[in-house]
Every structure is written in structure tokens, then in C-alpha cells.
Amino acid sequence: MTTQPLLLVSHVCKAFGGVQALKDVSITLKRGEIYGLIGPNGAGKTTLFNCLTGLYVPDSGQFVFDDKPLVCNAPDKTVRQGIARTFQNIRLFANMTALENVMVGRHARLRSNVLSDILRTPFNRREEQATKDQALQLMRYVGIAHRAHDLAKHLSYGDQRRLEVARALATHPKLLCLDEPAAGMNANETAGLRQLIETIRADGISVLLIEHDVQLVMGLCDRVAVLDYGELICEDIPAVVQQHPRVIEAYLGSGAHA
């Protein structure tokens, strides 16, 4: 494993009206790392995700990914550069089948165009078949291949989460960003998710994880960053983070460590 950074976030600021959602946040994510991003509600975790994946334009600061600066406000380009994400509240294409949802994820990597689509060139047919095969393979990978032909909205909550991960993986990312993937999961499902994330990392994809389940984060992540009121208060390995006075303060209130 190299220690060369995969993602450099430097001095990112973002305000909504008078609320400073991100104040001068800088973090570094190494290749092959599972990196946790935690903080109380409203700390700015999702805002950072949204800036990173091109949904928001930061007021200042920049992102360097894989040695190239990220283009802001162009989510489709961000995907092509190799960053994929899932959402805090599941956002699948509810009226398409599970398999189609994953196939859509392959879009960023397709080379067919409209003309070849209409003309059904041999290249186009091959590519479409390959897309389908890869999508099915990904569904096996996350463990929901048996639901491939059901509409996404008919899947159980846990399976929908897995489907979102499969769809994100289909874009062939170098970095997978998961926004509270364990939210609403029971202990069993969470254990399965943990295994899945470890498998994904083992296959060479770095993971950036927002999560409220502190146990999961501390057990799974190589390093953890803590945000509070838009400020980075600490970035280190879990054991150090857990002892950090400001982290304890943010989570338990100022009287706790007295």
C-alpha cells in the first residue's frame, strides 16, 4: 500500500446565508484507506460530501483527487474522475429494476453513443452485454443478485442500501463515499455492511465513510476526522480520536471531561 494521498481537501469553506457550514476544512485521504468522517448533526459532513461530489460549489478552497484538481459543479465529470457516492436517504431510480439501476451506474464508462445505440453496431451490442454482465456480477458482489429483476422500490431497506453501493461501484470508482450507510440498519445488517466495506477496500477501492454508529466507525476506519460546527477539530487514528478532549466535548458536552 502506498501512502501517497488519494484525496487532498484544502481549506474548503462553504456558507449558506449566515450559516458557515464548513470553515477552512483540510483533510487528507490516503490510498487504500477507510476514512471515517464523524461529528454531531449539522456539523457539515454531508456538505463536505456534496462539495466533493460536485453538487455544491465551495466558496473557497480546493479538492485534489488522484493528483488532479476536481472540477466543481459538474457531478458527471467528478464521477468520471473516479469518485462515487451513496446517499443518507436512499436515492435509487425507484421505477427501474435493480439491475437497470446498476447498469445506469456503468454509464460513465460507456463508449457507445446515440448513433451506435440506434444502429445497433456490433460494438454497441457487445458493450451492452458486457454492461449487463458486469452489473450482475456487482449485484452478486453485494449479495442481492436474486433481486436483479425486481423494481428498486420493491426491495427491502437493507437491500436498497446494498443496491446503492452496487450502483456506485458500477461507476468504477477509486474512492467510494458512503453517507450514513448503516442508518436504520439492525445489528445483523450492520455486520454485513461492515464486511462488505472491508471487501471493497481489499479490492483496492478507498472508502470515505460518514457514520453515526461510533462503534462501526472506530472498529472499521483506519483514520477518522471529526467535524463540529463546520470546523475540523481532529484527524487521527480512532484510538487517538476517542481520547481527544474536544471530541469528547463535542459529543458529550463541555462538562463531561471535567
Binding site: D76, F93, N95, M96, L110, I118, T171
Partner: protein
């Protein structure tokens, strides 16, 4: 002559055309949530361009079928280019504006196109040359002309190709994903703006074909024809459930049949008080009825989800 069967045949021809135009409304609505009121004018431009090409080439003595084909080959790209320009300059700048703004822009484009067409083609009615020989078949006392058969068959074929494109190709997949959630589609690497442009262009190609069909079947084209046709097709799209592709096809055919049967029987129903030239009232009775009793349309379950 069997009036009922005859009106069914007429209704199918009219309905096929409505369906082709309604698809243009419904596809754009499905993706942008915008009623493209200029779409009827795109049909009008298609019809008039086809008319000009055919009359210009008529003296060459080419077989009329070939003429029609050439006319379509010119009219379709013209309409597609027009739709591209409308989307790019009249709608895209207003993508994030309140809903009313693009709607007003659409009406503006519609008026602009009508007036441009009036300047180019004049205010008179232009009559289309005959495309196909006047062969008529007899079915149980009702007549169906070769042109009517070809119209229905061609519309059915076009719609089948479109359905295949949307359900089976990666482009169609991208279109459906964009329709369901543009923001997420973009996050999956789908170039959403290009998909929107393509949706307009595909709708315009169908509109050009519909324009040629109107001209050929009712042998008139003029600068104002798009208005009523557009309203009817819009009604058809609402009837089927706006935003729903199958709904637009179904709504188009159904509206054609309702209008045609209504026109055939209105004199009997009102004791001769209203004649068949009142056929337009049926479309709008249907529109009002659907909006009052089933605003989602026949196949429109998506309206509630969208809200």
C-alpha cells in the same frame, strides 16, 4: 356504409397522429416537468417544410412516394434543429426559474414561430400533393384508403421503435434515469443536458413525421395549424397521464377515436342541432373531464410521486 366502422378507421388515423405529437409533449414533461407549448408549432413547421419540398420537386416528375420521403428527410432535420434551438435558448436559461417562466417562454416561442411561418409561407392554406395513389379498400361497407393504412402502420412502427429505444438501449436507460431524478442521474455520470437535448430532438423527429401525415391525410397545411393540433395532442398526453410514454400512445389513439365517433354521431345525439364541425368540443370535454376526475390520467401514477 357502416358509419361506426368508418369512424373507427378515421379515428385510428387521427389518433395515430395525435399519439406521435403527444409523445413529444410527454417525453419533455417526463424529463423537465415542462409543458412545451411550442411543440405544436414544430409540427406545423414540419408540415410546411415538407409541403415546400414536395411542391418544389413536383415538376421533376419523381414518383410521389419518393417525394414524400425526400420531404421527410429535409423536414425532420429542420424540426430537430428547431427543437434544439428552442431548448437551448428558450428553456435552458430558465431551467432553475419558477415554473411559470418557462411556460410563458414556451407560449412566446409558439407565437414567434407562428408569425415567422406566416412571413415565410403566407396566410393562405396550402394543399398537399397526393403522396399515394387513391386506392381504397372496402371492409364491411367502410372504406380505408392506402394512405390511411400506411399512416396507421407507419405510426405504429415508429412508436414500436421508440418504445424499444427507451426500454432496451442504454440511451433509453439514461433517459428514464434522468426523468426519474436528474440530480442523481448526473451523479452516475449521465450527461443530463445532452439527454435533455436528445429528448427534444427525438420529439421533434416524431413531430415532423406527424406534420407530413397531417398534410397528406387532410391535404392542408398553414401557419396556424399547430395551435389546435398541439392542444389536442396535449389533451391526449394528459388523458394518458402526462410523463408516461405508453399513456401518450394510448391517449392519442383514444382521443382520435372519441373525436371521430363523436363527430359521427353528434348530429344524431343533438337531433341535428350540432353538426360534425363541432368535433373539437369532444377533445376539450375529455380534457376537462380528465382534469376534474382523474388528474393523473389513465396511466399516470407518477403525478402523485412527483408532488
Amino acid at each position: 356504409m357502416d358509419i361506426f366502422l368508418q369512424q373507427i378507421i378515421n379515428g385510428l388515423v387521427l389518433g395515430s397522429i395525435y399519439a406521435l405529437v403527444a409523445l413529444g409533449y410527454t417525453m419533455v414533461y417526463g424529463i423537465l416537468g415542462l409543458i412545451n407549448f411550442a411543440h405544436g408549432e414544430v409540427v406545423m413547421v414540419g408540415a410546411l417544410v415538407a409541403y415546400s419540398i414536395m411542391t418544389a420537386l413536383l415538376p421533376t416528375g419523381m414518383p410521389p412516394v419518393l417525394l414524400a420521403l425526400l420531404a421527410l428527410l429535409v423536414a425532420a432535420p429542420v424540426c430537430m434543429g428547431l427543437a434544439w434551438a428552442i431548448e437551448r435558448y428558450a428553456y435552458r436559461p430558465l431551467r432553475h426559474a419558477p415554473k411559470l417562466a418557462p411556460l410563458i417562454s414556451a407560449i412566446g416561442v409558439s407565437i414567434l414561430l407562428q408569425n415567422l411561418a406566416m412571413m415565410i409561407w403566407g396566410r393562405s392554406y396550402h394543399s398537399f400533393p397526393d403522396i399515394l395513389p387513391a386506392i381504397t379498400y372496402d371492409i364491411n361497407g367502410a372504406h380505408i384508403s392506402l394512405l390511411q393504412v400506411v399512416t396507421i402502420a407507419l405510426a405504429a412502427l415508429t412508436m414500436a421503435v421508440l418504445a424499444w429505444l427507451i426500454q432496451r438501449t442504454s440511451l433509453g436507460q439514461a433517459m428514464r434515469a434522468t426523468a426519474e431524478n436528474p440530480a442523481i442521474a448526473e451523479l452516475m455520470g449521465i450527461p443530463v443536458n445532452r439527454i435533455i437535448t436528445l429528448t427534444f430532438i427525438i420529439g421533434a423527429a416524431l413531430a415532423a413525421l406527424a406534420g407530413l401525415m397531417v398534410g397528406a391525410n387532410y391535404s392542408v397545411a398553414h401557419y396556424y395549424m399547430g395551435f389546435m393540433l398541439g392542444l389536442k395532442a396535449f389533451t391526449a398526453a394528459v388523458l394518458g397521464g402526462i410523463g408516461n410514454i405508453t399513456g401518450a400512445m394510448l391517449g392519442g389513439l383514444l382521443l382520435g377515436l372519441i373525436e371521430s365517433l363523436g363527430a359521427g354521431y353528434i348530429a344524431d345525439l343533438t337531433g341535428g342541432f350540432l353538426g360534425s364541425h363541432y368535433q373539437d368540443i369532444f377533445a376539450f370535454l375529455v380534457l376537462i373531464g380528465v382534469l376534474v376526475f382523474r388528474p393523473g390520467g389513465l396511466m399516470g401514477e407518477r403525478v402523485s410521486e412527483r408532488a
